[in-house]
């Protein structure tokens, strides 16, 4: 079963994040510090990969964590696990920055502040794999894909390109690019399920 409701048996990591974010509502600085220690590395890695400039990446990461501190009520633990929510926030901020700086012209609309709902219930395999093993699994699956397919997925995720823009950039048919991205994500799902 792909989706399962959050339960008291959910992983300690997910539960710990939810507890810490809850403490932010009470302006608990030590909770903020712990969240930063736990997740700043992956957030910074993601933002740096998108922006490719350390100083700008640090500004965006600072914005992300300050938004979390000032508006922690935006995160609702009943609507999904914390880390995917934080990563979505960081990606949106980084792509906005990319657009603002004119490094890439793209047409993202109305996705800045209102974050989408991540899985209302964590997939079973999120709980079955710890973060490190899940990261290894994601990297392993992506490196097993043909180079062009991997490139298409990276252009969509890290550059914020649309299907048409990717097709033009790779000089490949639009239908092929759509299939690559869809099938790539479906294979990622199978890969993560297989290890749970």
């Amino acid at each position: 079963m792909f989706l399962a409701a959050f339960s008291p048996k959910e992983s300690d990591e997910v539960s710990r994040d939810a507890t810490l974010v809850h403490k932010l509502l009470r302006r608990d600085v030590s909770a903020f510090e712990e969240i930063y220690e736990r997740h700043s590395r992956i957030v910074y890695s993601l933002v740096l990969r998108i922006l490719r400039q350390g100083s700008t990446a640090e500004e965006v990461v600072q914005d992300v964590f300050l938004q979390l501190w000032r508006n922690s009520g935006q995160y609702d633990a009943h609507r999904g696990p914390f880390v995917p929510w934080l990563l979505t926030l960081a990606r949106n901020r980084a792509l906005d920055q990319l657009r603002l700086k004119g490094e890439r012209q793209r047409r993202r609309e109305d996705q800045t502040e209102e974050l989408p709902q991540i899985a209302a219930a964590a997939p079973e395999y999120e709980r079955a794999l710890d973060e490190k093993r899940r990261a290894e699994r994601v990297r392993s699956l992506m490196s097993s894909l043909p180079a062009a397919q991997k490139k298409a997925i990276e252009l969509a995720y890290f550059e914020g390109l649309s299907h048409s823009e990717i097709a033009a950039a790779l000089n490949e048919p639009l239908g092929t690019v759509k299939s690559w991205i869809r099938n790539g994500l479906l294979r990622l799902k199978e890969s993560l399920q297989a290890t749970s």
Partner: protein
Amino acid sequence: MSNHDQFRELIQGYALGALDAQERAAMESHLASGCDECSKALEEARWLVSQLAYLAPGAEPSEMLKGRLLQTVRAEAGTSATPQATVRGAAVPWWMWAGVAALLVFSMYSTWNARKLQNEITALREQAKRQTQERAKLEQEMAAAKIQAHEAMIWSDPKSVKITMPAKDPNMPQLEAMWHPEMGIVVRGWKMPSLREKRVLQLWLIPKKPGGKPMPAMTFWPDADGKFSAMVENPPDVMSDTQALAITEEPVGGSAQPTSTPMWVGGVS
């Protein structure tokens, strides 16, 4: 053909933010219509998309960033001391016990009040959900209006080249296309027959280059009245390198190469 099947094909692209305007507007309209299955599939796809962050090479932010953040956070929390540096001492003054008693009374009141607030929150959430759906509908209408305006510009601009697309089957209607070198291609048709289950029409660009493969441009389907107007904002090739436009019937989601004989073909002059 079920709308639902068409949209399931688009969910991964939508979660990545990779759909073009027309598909995105159609997807949002479908979600706003309240399709639970697609909404759940979208949540799952968004979770999967978030996992792609682990492809980023590992990097460490500087200690200065942490220092700046903690300085700001402590200032905003109204303290620069660590949370552990709290009350110390053996004696508890009487007024603190009085405060505890007051807190107990307050917590009982809070429990009662929390229930009341919970009901109000539930009602507000329902209201917010309705407003979100209304907003999505309005955004979809705006997006559709933008697309219609873009199509009208292509159709009327003197730089656009008209392409007549006669049908291979004499019982089928003739289609018309306009190709603008900068704004894209619009194809329109009327009195179209219904498509078979799980089939769509797909537009192809036939290159002039000998041996060149047809390039897929987009998929579309006529409405209940047999009309359609489809636009390709970014054609996969330029007009001067294209010999003809062709339309075939393909499975939902489109094909990388045609799987059936073209039903309509129009030469690009």
